[in-house]
Amino acid sequence: MTAPRTHHSRFGIASTTMVHAKGIRKSYGHLEVLKGVDLTVPSGSVACIIGPSGSGKSTFLRCINHLEEINAGLMLVDGDFVGYRLEGNKLYELPPSAICQRRAEIGMVFQQFNLFPHMTVLENLIEAPVRVKREPVAQATAKAIDLLQRVGLAEKRDSYPRQLSGGQQQRVAIARALAMNPKVLLFDEPTSALDPELVGEVLEVMKSLAREGITMVVVTHEIGFAREVADQLVFMDGGVVVESGNPREMIANPQSPRTREFLARVL
């Protein structure tokens, strides 16, 4: 694993912490989906979030990169807010351009891949580096080819997404997120839309990223993957973190009856 960076954040939170969520609340209308979620993800570590459907896992993940605005709580990524600027004791909402700059540092991989269907694989990979980070095309292309090799798809660079299998599309989506050199990668059930025989190839890529020390927050139903790769397993239910800790210990010996019940169902 690479050594975690240790510079000092403005808010005194050790910046070896990549994601720091405290008391996150989020409602849709009258429905409170997140009821005070706490989570700390150290730099270079992997956190896996499990829990029944509708427990607020996706919503929480989307709060990390400010795809959803939170109603209360503190969400810091690499020691700074994503959607706000702190002045005195007031949080001012940032304009979209500033939020985009912050978001570019947070990669996200979706259940439905969300590749750009009108672009080739290579174009998908260089679009944001060239247009957002203003990297020269040649440099972005070289990096993209490198990334495609890492996910084992170098020969697909000129294919369009619809010509690829689901597993290949998801590996391209991971490469596309990596092309922005994100500080942290968020995965929302990356293998749930895949045929069973394609799940393995995507998990393999994710395991290799974990070994390289990339900080990841992974919402998943793959308990085996979580046990093997996660530094921290988080069980969410009903909009709160019910239990979290070392994955092996938690799976072998869950403390809460809700965790025990859920694990019994999925294992």
């Binding site: 795809l67 985009c100 978001r103 439905q112 269907p117 672009m119 997404p161 922005m180």
Partner: protein, 313 residues
Amino acid sequence: MTGNQSIRGSVDKIDPDQLTIVPLRHPWRWVAVALVLVSVAAMIRSAISNPEFQWPIVAQYLFNPLILDGLWKTLLITVVVMILATLGGTFAALMMLSPSKLLSVPAAVFVWFFRGTPALVQLIIWYNLSIVVKDFTLWLPGIGTLYSVSTNDIMTPLVSAIVALSLHESGYMAEIVRSGLRSVNKGQYEASACLGMKPSLALRRIVLPQAMRIIIPPTGNETINLLKTTSLVSIIAVGDLLYSAQSIYARTFETIPLLLVVSFWYLAVVSIMSVGQFYLERHFSRDEHRNNIGLTKAILGNLAKIGRKEALA
């Protein structure tokens, strides 16, 4: 059942190479074809032999300077109006899709009004604008009148025509663009946002190119429709194709031949537009074709093919 069983029994004895397939015959289709051929022949014959069509006069006026000038005006109005309507329509569509009611409601009212009243009526209203608005004045409090111009000086027939048709067409384009934008999956917006793309960049690079697939076919129809709708401007004395022809046959009474000239040019332009639409559609759905080639490549390829044939001949 017994028949099937007997076939199954004898299937081993059949040599597949000896079998021929007899296609289903469609006798009524041939009757219909014959009827169509007979009526087409009759029409062509009457068109050629009927002296009222006056084909020599058609040929004589086909490239008449006045007609070509009218054709140019017609094309100019079509192109300018289509550009303005596309911009206006896209703007209105973005407003309609805005979560803010303050933006979406005015846009919806705009579309409702300009789509709901006949183009001819709007044309005449704009042409007669000077009746309601005598002049345009830029007036600032404390400074007074900076600039003033009479409505009749600005609202020439051509300008009235362009303004009226642009607003009318904007209403249609807004609906077309809106349905195109809505056809793009929400995940595409989110993926762009997660890559740090600003909404304007995501719209330009990710959403619009995908929406184009839905937008182009009806826009092609609209353009062809608009080309023909521009003939309405002859009512307010804009010298378009129809107006030019009318001004000639008002003198010479060669009504039918001149209307044939007009029809010829409209058909010619529509045909060219259809070819353009074909290539545009192919360009924006290039990921659906395995041997994908872009618009420029396709046109260059066609030119090269023509060149090759000529070289062989």
